[in-house]
Symmetry: D2
Subunit: 346 residues, 4 copies
């Protein structure tokens, strides 16, 4: 089958012919239709220090996808919950099920997590094998949307780890997951959703996802504007999706006394924090977001999409065939894209 | 001033001339514009056993209202938070502030609660005096809506005492508070809101408040329909607003395993409960709803209304001047009304 | 191997010679040392209507046990988390992992649960095969205690589904799980633990488990005493472990306004409930307890035992070899026993 | 009356004769018996930049105290909840009751808080006037303990803002509040309480308050030891009471994946934080602790003390009469003291 492979240490990836994946009795073989390209894939393409420390080539890349079940392992078939032909997506974190975190309902923090497309073969391929327990039926959701439920789930996890109905929310950073967070906050009943980014195209996407107000920190002071918009109180919830140290400072200043800051954007360097002024005297709660809650996040997300409350489509800005991966990577690097989709077996 | 007074034990009420209320240093005198007529007022009119045990006539009736601040007590004025001319509504439960419940943040369960229009003079009058701490500014919400924020707050309390975004909700009983609950569930991001009542007019109001599906138990089996609509699971949350023992049975059967039943409707007789089958083996949580959380409910409600997410207006079906109280009571008795408003000083 | 088998419909059980259980790649074969006899086993012995509707003989009985790992399936061995010789106990509910409840972290409410000793072969035998994921290492806890971690876990689930430190707790019904609940409440920092039962022997066990006060409803009014002991407020938490309709009435009356009633005792008939007076106007929360949370309950329990905070030993009153099952059943029927242990391979 | 007064800008304080405080209708006049000296009082004595920016001399110092009710304002008397002769302590934060935080149940974060002994006259005096709503009856707790319920309440707030029963807890920094936190964690059912400090005297106090293990970072690596003691997992809860940037780094490293860090120690400078590694990928929750929850913390604390679960006495190391304030301040500066008490009207 065709697959996009990181063949050896160093930049780039290649479309190769590789064997169809083998699969065990509890696994499912999925024919991929659509896949999403993520910032992580860009790191792998560029072969930065994170990628070179973590990946062991050769490995098939890609962790965001949806497709059609082609075959079922013996036990997966016997369970009777999935069938050949079902359209599905899957949680890309394959967890151990036995560590403290898995046992306490925090499997998204499993120490032995294997991520597809990073630690084992991934989804930029005609077929992928997945444990049946990671597979989620789409139940009518198109595979193009199914292909981005991984990053959309990051946003659902970030936003719903707060009490949203009637609340005021600031989303810092309007990359795809930030834009998704805007849509999730609206769908979950936030009364005011403010989005901030330096990039006007991204602010436009945020507006299309439902932001009541957008702020460009290049021309407006975010904290001042947030205070004006909230009667001087600050917001109940900040979703920090930018990963910039300046985003942290803004987040702490823009949150109200007793508010909450959920952090998803992963900075590449450290931040100076004034804990006394910004966290302790403000009585803030901070929460670090990793992955998606397995599987509360998936169920909440599936319902929000199927009910029509959450439509991530405006964020999809580009589509490429598998062979055009270099172009897909380039639009990501240009910083003008929302979500980029690979059309594989559609 | 004119006021609607229960002058002595027995049915009925009278419009009388009574002195304007006196008020203390921490109080506020409010000129009433609109007031809401509640089932409680009907009980008082009819002088049923509850009313005759609780009320000590003469007492001015009415606990749902909004109006304009006419005068401020010395300390209330000094606090600088309220001003003459402000349009306001108020929490009608005046609590002690010292009991265990008040101290633990459950003031809505204060043992020494005094309810206006029941335990002390109420709002069906040209003026009412209220402690400043019970007063909520309307901040742009019309006084007609302000006048029903007491029962609307019951619905907000009932619905938001659950995790609503993306959830499935069944509202049993579509009187005014049931209809409000439909609107609150929608505003708070529920993915499916099902409403049930025997009365087609009320089902029509529920639809106008946003119910995805309405069920008339006279022609359809509620539990069967709920299961069909939820893939066999049952709903995450049942709001029991009917107060009928049959509503309890339906609530327990329609909730999913691990679901939640929030109970507001107050039955006049006991219910047979099969705790093993319906509560314990299902892992249900039940919650009894009294009043409004002071003052979380009010803040959430005010935001939902001001953001345009929650519009209770479709539920207002009748308006009368104070003098026509007998007609207002009659439309309530007929069971065809939604919310009935008294126009007092508008 | 020797095993206690319900061979056909009807009362009684027999010690038989049966084949050692086969086991799959993800399973573990455990040589049983100690097992606990439960009220459920009594129902099965007596062949009451529940038992005759649910069991399909022949089936090996018993669901509470601990022992030593004798063999590991291929994949269980490869996972490297369990080893031959490990002393272990196991969660006896074998769940599907795919239903809504399993996916939402409520696997204890899985619709497809198979219970060992009820729906498939159980633990009153020399060997039992269990899925590796159900197995919990004892890490130094003796197997006699390991054998009762199933019912002890019911108590941990019941008590810890509340905010216990500094709280006041009433345990209604001092059978083994009620006595365990007393010990758990003490270990979890309750400031006052009151236990109630008609049986003086059980009240003595409750005192030995740490109850500050015991009440015999035969001679004292429970609600009156509870109010006296709590300054008139009632308790924060009632654990209803009796399963008697009178226990429900007492529970609702003894809980404080805004309090909580966690229900584990399963009544054999319905209860008349005055929802208005007892649940709604009191603002109570009720929670139905099934099984043990998988696996938060197990971790909390293991820590409480290992730290010496919770010692269930006083509740163990009788020990029998497997062959003396008839005597074990008899002491249960006499109602004078605490926990009864079968010594199998010790 | 005698009182300890900061008479003008600059270091030091003086015992002076000042008028007995006047009090309003809702206030209570308390004859002070015991008072606690706090690090805040040291800042005021030294007149550091915080003190010189905040205090407006002359002001009576002192915010931790207990005593006997001497007189009641008219309305406070009428409420019937407090009486002359009652032994009481009081919450020293006097809040507005109207801001968003007060209305949402977060009065400890009120923007308009007035702190006694800082923003208005305090408790190092023969008499203090307090709003009746801030007063807590001691109900048998000695006034010497009552005098330290303010800092003890900080510890109760810090610890109980987590799920403690059966958990593992690390307390970083064993000043008086750190030592109290050790005692609270034990009382609340923690299975393992580890305490860390450079000062051997403080570690000794921590052991006397119930720490299972103490670590001196001067000779042992805290993170390494914590991992050893928790099977490699790290602790569920870190209480950061040191206020040192190095404490933050240790806190984040010592918390388990999915764990919690509650921060009370207020650093005087900023901390470099690696949000990606330490907060986000670990899925940590951080919570900034200010004051005491009004009044949940007080109720929990009072119960823990009265039940004998929590005994703060070992932490009291010094007692002085009011006139010896200079000596009291000196033992604080020496860093060898636990809690220092002023005996005023005992």
């Amino acid at each position: 089958m065709r697959a996009l492979v990181k063949k050896q240490a160093g930049p780039g990836m290649e479309v190769c012919d590789v064997p169809k994946p083998s699969f065990g009795p509890n696994d499912v073989l999925i024919r991929v239709r659509h896949a999403g390209v993520c910032g992580t894939d860009l790191h792998i393409w560029e072969w930065d220090s994170w990628a070179s420390n973590r990946l062991k080539p050769p490995v098939v890349i890609g962790h965001e996808f949806a497709g059609e079940i082609a075959e079922l392992g013996r036990d997966a078939a016997a369970a009777g919950l999935l069938a050949v032909g079902d359209l599905v997506t899957a949680e890309g974190h394959i967890v151990c099920g036995h560590c403290l975190q898995c046992r306490l309902g925090d499997a998204h923090l499993c120490r032995r997590t294997q991520i597809i497309g990073v630690d084992r073969d991934g989804a930029f391929a005609e077929y992928i094998a997945m444990p049946a327990s990671n597979v989620m039926k789409l139940d009518g959701i198109p595979t193009e949307i199914g292909a981005i439920m991984d990053p959309l789930g990051n946003a659902v996890h970030t936003v719903l780890e707060a009490d949203v109905p009637g609340s005021t929310v600031l989303v810092l950073g309007c990359g795809p997951i930030g834009c998704f967070a805007v849509g999730v906050a609206k769908a979950a009943g936030a009364s005011l959703v403010i989005a901030s980014d330096y990039n006007p195209k991204r602010l436009d996407l945020a507006r299309r996802m439902g932001a009541h107000v957008t702020i460009n920190p290049g021309s407006d002071d975010v904290v001042t504007r947030v205070r004006e918009l909230t009667g001087g109180d600050g917001v109940d919830l900040v979703c920090e999706m930018s990963g910039h140290p300046s985003g942290h400072a803004t987040a702490f200043a823009a949150a109200r006394l007793g508010g909450r800051v959920n952090l998803l954007g992963t900075p590449s360097r450290t931040t100076e924090v004034d804990f006394a002024r910004d966290i302790i005297f403000k009585g803030l709660t901070l929460y670090g977001v990793t992955g998606r809650k397995m599987y509360e996040t998936w169920h909440e997300m599936r319902r929000l999409i199927r009910a029509g409350q959450l439509d991530p489509c405006p964020v999809i800005t580009h589509r490429f065939p598998l062979e055009k991966i270099a172009e897909a990577i380039q639009v990501l690097k240009d910083g003008q894209a929302g979500k980029v989709i690979l059309e594989i077996g559609a």
